[in-house]
């Protein structure tokens, strides 16, 4: 999803009007009753009510467009969990979790509040505080809500969110509303207990361990009930689903319909992270994750139904920073306890206002470029391009320094963000420099071009040989504007017969969580 849709909606209007609207923070303004539960996909003239725009405009997880500019942090105050998932292993620090006491630190609510202030003072674009584990926040209600209480007192401008498996959700909806938590994510991997039994070995329910189909039945009932209760209260809900090929991949279309009909705002289908070394049930049984194309195909097929999130980085329960970066190592308990923290609401606001100006410029540039594309002859050609970026919506990262590439789909409709590819795990298996380039090529093998701020001769030649065009002519320019300009040129070259448009192959999805080097 992407609140740039607001701007696309407004594209036909004079620029001044658009600027005025955005300056007023009214987004697309009208709150009409479109078919969708809300707006925010990367394409299509959606409506978004002003109050919803207010909630998502600087939430990096709820807005693709915001994630270029705003940062989030998670505090690991909730170690206990009430269910067991086959893709999770609490004994190791892996994929979606961080084992308390080993790599990351478990925090008390008081330590968490101090950490939030320290981070917010250092990173003014940090706008969102989430409790996401490493267990289930609502299996640790006292710690979770105490954290929210402390933060809302000291840093009232920070948005609060939490993510949960949903089992305990109906019991806590009123408390969630009381603390003004206005974003809740529920992980829903199934609505059919038969499918659920293959994902959840057990749940802890009413002082008993319940297994099998019965466990999945209780879980799905609680999840759907919780979702309904939240949307009734106007709390924005995102649904996360883990795509597990052969188990729930086809079923997720049904999940998508079920959560949409209950008012979920956004659906985030993520690839299963699975490797034997994680020690998870799925890792040990050899259950594979999806390929990039399989994931995109499923996301595309659900997109007509509701807003899809494609920029999720599956971050850890203690991540700090922009999505795709993790600065948690700068903010260990030891370090934050020594920090002198002064929370300056005004300077944070000033910084965020500057960010808003940058966003306006970016959107205006994109729309101007889009108009010139519209003047061209429509074409059926669609290509993917990879972009090296550090944020701010610009092509501002050196090829060799990129830890991930953002992927945009270019067509006559414009540039649409469709995902990201990680390339930061060079160290796996002790590969050398040459192999790391091979890793990058595998990760963006489905792309026709890669946009970078700078690139060396060697990788340039190798990328070209692999059929991926290295592009550095748009260094430090806005991503979408540049991508559209490139696409026009691409179409031109195809027309003139200079290049042949060929379908690219599939690409790898890299495994593992983002951790600071």
């Amino acid at each position: 999803m992407d609140d740039s849709s607001n701007f696309e909606f407004a594209a036909a209007e004079p620029l001044d009007d658009i600027m005025q609207k955005i300056a007023d923070h009214k987004g697309c303004g009208t709150s009409g009753g479109s078919g969708k539960s809300s707006c925010g996909t990367s394409d299509g003239p959606d409506d978004m009510a002003p109050e919803i725009w207010e909630k998502v405009k600087n939430h990096p997880c709820y807005s693709e467009e915001a994630h270029h500019h705003y940062a989030r942090m998670h505090v690991a105050v909730a170690p206990a969990c009430n269910i067991q998932c086959n893709y999770c292993n609490r004994k190791y620090d892996c994929a979606n979790e961080s084992r308390p006491g080993v790599v990351s630190e478990k925090l008390t609510p008081e330590q968490a509040a101090k950490k939030v202030l320290a981070v917010a003072s250092t990173i003014p674009q940090m706008t969102v505080l989430g409790v996401a584990g490493p267990g289930d926040p609502l299996a640790n209600p006292a710690k979770t809500f105490k954290t929210f209480e402390l933060i809302s007192q000291t840093a009232p401008d920070i948005k609060l969110c939490l993510s949960t498996n949903g089992l305990a959700l109906p019991d806590h909806v009123d408390t969630i509303a009381k603390y003004n938590v206005d974003h809740v994510t529920i992980t829903v991997n199934m609505v059919d207990p038969e499918v659920g039994a293959q994902i959840y070995p057990w749940i802890f329910w009413k002082n008993k361990r319940v297994t099998g189909i019965e466990a999945a039945r209780i879980l799905t009932e609680r999840q759907m009930q919780g979702l309904e209760m939240l949307t009734e209260r106007g709390i924005l809900c995102k649904v996360n689903s883990v795509m597990i090929p052969g188990i729930n991949d086809k079923h997720l279309v049904e999940v998508n319909r079920a959560v949409k009909s209950r008012g979920a705002f956004l659906h985030n289908i993520m690839p299963l992270i699975s490797a034997p070394e994680h020690g998870t049930v799925f890792g040990l049984t050899g259950q594979r994750g999806p390929t990039a194309q399989e994931l995109k195909a499923l996301q595309d097929s659900c997109e007509g139904e509701m807003n899809m999130m494609r920029h999720c980085r599956q971050c850890r329960a203690d991540a700090v920073g922009l999505l795709g970066e993790d600065r948690s190592a700068e903010f260990t308990t030891e370090k934050i306890m020594e920090m002198e923290v002064s929370y300056d609401l005004e300077s944070r606001q000033a910084y965020q206002n500057a960010v808003e100006q940058e966003r306006l410029a970016k959107v205006a540039a994109k729309n101007a470029e889009l108009e010139t594309l519209a003047a061209e002859e429509a074409s059926d050609i669609k290509i993917l391009v990879a972009v090296a970026t550090k944020g701010q919506g610009r092509i501002n990262e050196h090829f060799g320094h990129a830890k991930e590439f953002q992927v945009y789909e270019l067509s006559s409709k414009g540039a649409k963000f469709v995902g990201h590819r990680r390339v930061d795990l060079y160290c796996q298996g002790g590969y050398g420099e040459e192999d790391s380039l091979e890793t990058v090529i595998k990760a963006i093998n489905d792309c026709a071009a890669v946009f970078v701020a700078k690139i060396g001769h060697c990788p340039k030649d190798e990328l070209t040989a692999a059929g991926i065009e290295p592009i550095d002519q748009y260094a430090f320019e806005f991503i979408e504007q540049s991508a559209i300009a490139y696409f026009k040129d691409y179409l031109d070259r195809v027309k003139r017969g200079e290049i042949a448009h060929v379908a690219r192959g599939d690409a790898d999805i890299r495994q593992g969580a983002y951790i600071s080097a």
Binding site: P79, A80, Q84, R90, P100, K106, G135, F204, K208
Partner: protein, 77 residues
Amino acid sequence: MTYKIVASQCTSCSACEAECPNVAISEKNGTFVINPKKCTECIGYFDVAQCVAVCPVDDTCIIDTSLPRYQPTGGAA
């Protein structure tokens, strides 16, 4: 006998602490321990030992065979 926690297996997730009806579980040196003087094996409270049922790692909360079996007294059962 009472229950004990195998420290090398404990992930320190704290789930057992909140479920224990006897408040017998506490954190010590990074993992959790059960106070054998307080543990009743959940007899009189629940059909299953709560720490065993909620623990995410199997065979981590186990019977401590070095201690005598818990004997419910009076009205506890």
